[in-house]
């Protein structure tokens, strides 16, 4: 019992299950995916206006900005479609819904995350792939790199969401704060880091890890370097470790029954 393969299989089973149940409502499924694809393409409209007037913004070309949105969408889309409860972890903890997962013989964090799937995420992921292929030069190597960095970025985002959601173990109703932090990450992730400087830049490469979800992946797509790629992987691993630790500590607190909004 145990092991990464076993857990991966569990995630895959749940994803298939969620997908199958979403496809029961065909119109809803298709419209969610299509609308998200359209939505994401529309976001590029603004950049199309800007790059109609300039060649680059602090070294970032239109292709770079598109790659940035592609990675962001792919990472976010993968995260919410596989780990559908990722943005709602704080609420699940605060409302005591973790009990249900604790009564089952599976890793409660993983189980809570995969119990739901946000189908619009598939639209995001589809957009990411499409935008990259349609508007930037693509080779098989570049595509493979895109998938690799997107998976890493997805992991970082998911872990970041777990960390912010776990705040609920300590201060009770953290759903709003959690959403603010996640929203900030998504917002900043839509703009090239060449426009930020100083303290803000430092924050974007640490506390709100936009740098590792978006900027570093894009720089790798621009020109690959093994050193920076290892840096991304190292940060990803660190995030996974941090997320699991924080959740475990929080869970211990949950099991003491002494949460701020405990339901006795």
């Amino acid at each position: 019992m145990g092991g990464a393969a076993w857990e991966a299989g569990f995630v895959w089973e749940h994803f298939k299950f969620n997908l199958a149940s979403a496809m029961e409502y065909k119109w809803s499924f298709v419209s969610q995916v299509v609308f998200m694809v359209l939505n994401d393409f529309l976001l590029l409209f603004f950049w199309w206006l800007i790059f109609g007037k300039v060649q680059d913004i602090g070294g970032w070309t239109f292709a770079d900005v598109i790659a940035m949105h592609a990675v962001l969408a792919a990472a976010y889309g993968l995260s919410v479609s596989v780990f559908g409860n990722v943005n709602r972890l704080a609420r699940i903890i605060a409302e005591g819904q973790l009990d249900y997962y604790l009564l089952l013989p599976r890793n409660p964090l993983l189980h809570a995350l995969v119990s739901r799937s946000d189908i619009s995420g598939l639209g995001d992921a589809a957009f990411g792939l499409a935008a990259l292929c349609l508007f930037t030069p693509v080779t098989w190597g570049r595509l493979a790199l895109f998938i690799a960095v997107s998976v890493a970025a997805c992991t970082v985002y998911t872990c970041f969401a777990v960390i912010t959601g776990s705040i609920a173990f300590f201060i009770g109703n953290a759903q709003t704060i959690s959403l603010q932090l996640l929203g900030a990450l998504i917002t900043f992730g839509g703009y090239p880091d060449s426009i930020f400087k100083g303290l803000v830049r430092a924050v974007l490469y640490s506390v709100v890890p936009v740098g590792f979800v978006v900027y570093l992946p894009v720089s790798l797509l621009r020109n690959f370097s093994a050193a920076r790629f290892s840096g991304l992987l190292a940060f990803t691993v660190a995030m996974v470790w941090a997320a699991r630790c924080l959740f475990a500590v929080g869970l211990r607190r949950y099991e003491s029954g002494n949460l701020v909004s405990a339901k006795i």
Binding site: E13, L102, P105, E255
Partner: protein
Amino acid sequence: MLMRQVGDVRAIEVSGLTKVFEVREKSPGLAGSVRAIVSPSVREVQAVNGISFQVDEGEMLAFIGPNGAGKSTTIKMLTGILYPTQGRATVLGVTPWEDRQRLAGRIGCVFGQRSQLWYHLPPCDTFELLAHVYDIPKPVYCDRLNMLVDRFELGEFMRTPVRKLSLGQRMRCEIAASLLHGPRVLFLDEPTIGLDVVAKRAIRELIRQMNREEGVTVFLTSHDVGDMEELCRRVMIISHGELILDTSVSALRRDYLRFKIVRVRLADAIDRFEMRGVTVAKHKQTNLKLSVDTDVASIDDVLTELMRHARIADITIADPPTEQVIADIYGRGASEALGGR
């Protein structure tokens, strides 16, 4: 590893289990919130206070108590969701809060508030998912599923979305789902709530069957006295965090019955009837309904007193319903109840 000989390891063993909650008190308003962060005032709430009991494999017991008595806290500790402040417990030889995931594969839970079934999907889908959750090998799962579908008569609605099922059908699916992985201990919380009489009877029969054939230990919490009386041979009553009674259901009625209900029709109407130890529940001209505390006044005395006022045309002396017995016990509390008669 767990190697069990018959009678070697009890299903549940609890000793001195205690749970004290630290509740942060917060005064209302902004000032209160600030104060709560700077110097929080913590109040201790004793939810469970040193309870001890043992349950053998295959037993069916009722675990009852008024709201806030510590029932759900105890169950949470037995299922590993909560860890105690003091005391020990083992379920199937495993300490629940230390080895929760392993225990979870061997116990089943049906809790009233939270449904295991996915609302928009048919039950068969939930069962399949549970097979993955519990890692049940395919052939084992198929056999087990067929048996449960047969036994619980789920065949005709296995493919109907759960939201379209009646409460009774849903409950049958819930209990079947909780038995899918062949648990040794089943925790049931209000399994018949909201069901009509026929459905209640069906559910109880199914639980009885599973206990008979598979020897599943049943730990039942229910406010429905019928559940207790029809399913369980043993009852534990918890009140204010303490186990105030641990006895058989038959002994409960026999030994703790102290009130009698006396319905009398007199030949002539009387204005009032007063007597120590007697409560007049209803008085309409010639008809009286009395509740007699037999600790204070014997039936003999009551009849004598009645006959002093008027002749008796008709009389019925009956036991109060079990609900009343239990409510009475809740009211009396630990020391009195344990003192017995």
